[in-house]
Symmetry: C2
Subunit: 154 residues, 2 copies
Amino acid sequence: MQIESCYLFQGLTRPQIERIESIAKERFIKKGDWLFHEDQKATHIYLLKEGAIELVTKVEDAVDIPISIIRPDNGCLGIGALVEPYLYSLSARCMEDSNLLAIEQVKLQTLMQDDHELGCTIQRNLAQKLLARLKETRREIKIHFMNLVRSITF
Amino acid sequence: MQIESCYLFQGLTRPQIERIESIAKERFIKKGDWLFHEDQKATHIYLLKEGAIELVTKVEDAVDIPISIIRPDNGCLGIGALVEPYLYSLSARCMEDSNLLAIEQVKLQTLMQDDHELGCTIQRNLAQKLLARLKETRREIKIHFMNLVRSITF
């Protein structure tokens, strides 16, 4: 994924995209390795160039629930780095050897503070994505709810 | 709730708060009436001054799941009005006769476009709230998931 194709950066101008490109660094991570863990300090946002990364949430010490699989065409990881208190909201595990673009949270925050229009665009894109995810997650709850109702009724 | 106590407007300056106050209008709604419906065009954001409003989501034609109850001290309604494509993500039903402050979406968008710092602050507050709600909603799924695991295991 290129920076300009990530949903977070939609609507930015070419010079704004170039400023973000200038703070992005390539990073390689091996299959099976963890990129980050839930509730840890979110130091980076990652865009996936090659590979596959699974987002999971821990239920109990030994149990993870898969939330989604990130591939090069569908988004980025670590959006907790954009939202106070800057913690990862999920854990990310590498499913295949992967190439990433890592954008340091501190540097991106500086760009966003220096250029309010850039900051505002990213925050608006983020809010839009979060509301969409919230609706999807509520749909899952509806399914559980209806299954429960049916198991009681029939 | 006053405008300055709503999470959306935290961090705004006094003149910014006053500009929002100048576009807010009082509205009264009776117990049992619907304020808005899921997937309808989101024309207003509402702050509750007195009363109680229930947010629900429709599962099937005759079934609603309660999502939360809004009271004067805990937030606002209709944040779909801040996020493209500007649709209400839930339905709102009045549980008690209620007094609201209604902020027209079109007017607020104009304020946000004219003052990027104001826009950016609101979007940042919104993203923070949405991420928190997403985490809460995921916690509910975890509970369903663990109940399911237990029902299979035992």
